[in-house]
């Protein structure tokens, strides 16, 4: 049993070590007015990124957060963002935040296998930066805080209990 666990661990560990990193080249020339930071998000199932309880519940942040030093509305300076996980499907989005914890998701997305903007080989660099697009004056979405999310969950639980009692 121990051997099997050890073998599984080694296989998993080696798999992690040998997974192929890719670098995604991206930028934007339509960053919304008020943009203060941004992140690249990978979504595996084709849906758009969603925040719940202060964190991403649909999607996964890739790379570092882009800070205001790299944002000159309407431009976000080109980024080479490394994704250390091999992808066989899915898309990348950019999520931009303002100074008040509101966010907006890019209108378009980048396929996991886009040739010119994703470098996969040891010798081949990025030859074109993918431009994510935004509405210049979008409807910002508040990022639900953890407390708010907990209240929502508690409220739903209470409502469910009441329904049970009535029944």
């Amino acid at each position: 049993m121990k051997k099997r666990v050890l073998a599984s661990f080694l296989l998993f560990f080696c798999g992690v070590l040998t997974s192929q990193a890719v670098v995604i080249g991206w930028s934007t020339e339509t960053a919304p007015v008020g943009s203060a930071s941004a992140i690249l998000v990978y979504v595996s199932d084709g849906s758009t990124p969603v925040f719940t309880g202060g964190s991403l519940t649909t999607g996964q942040q890739i790379g570092d957060t882009i800070t205001s030093g790299a944002i000159f509305v309407p431009y976000i300076m080109p980024q080479d963002t490394q994704d250390t996980t091999t992808r066989n499907s899915g898309t990348y989005y950019v999520v931009v935040f303002d100074d008040s914890e509101n966010y907006v998701v890019s209108n378009n997305s980048l396929a996991f296998n886009d040739g010119p903007s994703i470098s996969t080989g040891e010798t081949d660099p990025i030859t074109a930066y993918y431009l994510f697009t935004f509405n210049q004056n979008p409807e910002w979405i508040p990022v639900p805080e953890p407390g708010t999310a907990m209240l929502l969950v508690a409220g739903a639980a209470v409502a469910a209990l009441r329904r049970r009692k009535r029944a």
Binding site: V23, S27, M77, D80, P125, I126
Partner: protein, 277 residues
Amino acid sequence: MKKFLMLMTALAAAGWVRAEMPPLDGTNVVGFAAVNAAGGANTLITVPFEACLNAGTPGVLADLISTNGLVSHASDPGAADQLIVLTTNATMQIYYYYWLKAGEGWKGVETSVKMPNGSSFAVTPVAASEFPVARGLGFWIKRVAGAAADVYVKGQVSGARQATAISEKLNLIGYGSVEAFSLNNSGIDWTGVTGAGLKLYESDTIMLPKTGGGFTTYFYYVNASPPAPHVSLTNKWVESTASGLQAASGTIAAGQGFWFNRLTGHGSFTFRPNGQE
């Protein structure tokens, strides 16, 4: 006595013949430079020299890479060091692969290119002795695991100014310097390179291989009413990070090559790092 006279006559004749021989032109200086290229990795190198005694004809790949210290194999290309050069066929950019065959030198490897529509075609390299290269062009060297770190490039030290043709899309080039240099602080003439203000994604880029894989991308920044903090970056190569822009720093070793991405629409130009004519 007779023998002595004969010897003296022979010596005198030899001295006369030697005096009558025209001296060889001594301006040709052969250069030999070590370039760091670790085993088990791909390294982009360039040759800062011209091919020796080429009598006005272009140098060829086989002449510029010394096989000294390289790993050869009798039959297995995968067990030998390889050269990878960029070229074009009728429609697209392709690579030629060469491997170091023991006792024979650089031999071409037939490869297959897979197209986005699923089709594929074979690429057969021309002989390394026929592939023209010039000072300032770059190519990859793929070392087998465990190979010694240094490779050697050789050729004729040239006093002429470098002139490297840059065309649209990717170019594998280098600065034909025999000393380490920096992109921004070595007085290199970047006339002809195109920048686009804060639209950095529309600027020409240089991509330097990083140790361990991947590239560091540098964008050519040109003043186009930039925010005040960026005035100092005008006409410099800059790196774009998650926290902002910064001027390219550090030095590039002699013999190290790099990618130059000339965006479509920017046209071609001749890179003359030592000044325009």
